[in-house]
Amino acid sequence: MVPEDGVSKIETALKGMTLNHEDIVEKIKEVFKKYGIQSPGIPAEDFADAIMKLKEYTEKYPPELRPFAEPEGKE
């Protein structure tokens, strides 16, 4: 990636976002455009695929073991 610290721009932009593939792709493309970041061979979709694996992981936890608080009344 050029510049190499473009990664931190993506990080900042994605903080607080919900794990939704389409939204993440769109946001990363927006960051690439805004800062002129080049990431040859690794398109925004690949980053989004990687990030979405987080969701798979959180979903693998049985509800009683989920380490994050669930809203009241929901599983």
Partner: protein, 310 residues
């Protein structure tokens, strides 16, 4: 035809070999220096860590200390490598105003690595450019390359590999289980090669440098004028570049700025907050370490490493 400067630093101490081009890039960005190609060999061995890598996770720091091997974090991505005088480095640093340098990174690699291919072919090997940034012989990588940018200066750095010490390359890496070291060295033998291995001998460094100069002049259509570093560049190197690279903060940069990186896999760090590490194989490995709350990203960091032969 553009006139460029050629600086042959000969054998230089590791910090000069690895980082001096950054001083040239800063000088070019400040309008103090012309477009430049640097040729250099490290005078002594060192370990070079990728920009995004975490020192303690990637490098056997104790071993390096015992061996007196300096550890230097480079400004480009990629994996940890052991480097010594068995490599000839080329470092191309040019202003974005140059007519012969592509601005797109993929085009930059494609154009400039034609020179690397030219050198290996002149030495009798069937070298080929392999996108994005490799040069291969018989499907084995024979040159590592990276690109960067400092202000207006566009940078491409890479090496001609004379010989490789596979066992030492594997030895400097941090490996969870010692049994993996032999496998790691074996895997490197499978995917990375050198002039000595392919030709059965190491051509003279003077010959290699002559071919590099020929190649850059032909392929870029430039004239290279032999010269030396300027006072400005030496000053920038001593006062800005070297202190940065020698600092604790730079060497430990990812973990200091992202403390969650020191945590493995999925760990609950507080009620409702956990840190997860996932790896995704795209064209390169993408590793994501994220602080997640529910299905929201709270803070995350990613980096990717070069997969040999990927």
């Amino acid at each position: 035809m553009e006139n460029w400067r050629l600086i042959d630093l000969g054998m230089a101490e590791p910090y000069v070999a690895q980082c001096f081009y950054e001083a040239v890039a800063l000088a070019i960005d400040r309008g103090l220096s012309p477009n430049t190609i640097i040729l250099v060999q490290p005078a002594s061995p060192y370990v070079c860590l990728g920009y995004h890598q975490i020192l303690e996770k990637e490098v056997d720091v104790e071993f390096c200390k015992k061996q007196g091997l300096p550890i230097i974090r480079r400004s480009q991505g990629g994996g940890t490598v052991y480097l010594n005088n068995d490599q000839v480095f080329y470092q191309v640093v040019a202003s974005e105003d140059s007519k012969v340098i592509p601005h797109r990174v993929d085009e930059l690699f494609e154009k400039l690595l034609q020179v690397t291919v030219y050198v290996y072919r002149k030495l009798g090997l069937e070298a080929e450019f392999k996108p994005l940034n490799d040069v291969v012989v018989n499907n084995r990588k024979i040159s590592g390359n990276g690109a960067g940018r400092i202000g207006k200066a566009i940078i491409l750095v890479g090496n001609i590999i004379l010989d490789l010490d596979y066992d030492l390359m594997a030895r400097v890496l941090k490996i969870p289980d010692e049994k993996f070291r032999d496998k790691m060295a074996k895997s490197m033998r499978e995917w990375v090669t050198s002039l000595k291995r392919e030709l059965g001998y190491i051509p003279s460094v003077d010959e290699i440098k002559k071919l590099l100069v020929e190649g850059y002049e032909k392929i870029l259509g430039i004239k290279l004028i032999p010269s030396s570093p300027s006072e400005d560049e030496l000053h920038i190197f001593e006062n800005e570049v070297k202190p940065k690279h020698m600092s604790y903060e730079w060497l430990h940069m990812p973990e200091l700025t992202h403390r969650e990186l020191t945590i493995d896999r999925a760990v609950k760090i507080a009620d409702g907050v956990k840190v997860i590490e996932v790896v995704h194989k795209a064209k390169k490995l993408i590793k994501v370490t994220a602080e997640v709350i529910g299905d929201k990203i709270f803070g995350y960091y990613d980096y990717w490493r070069l997969l040999y032969g990927s």
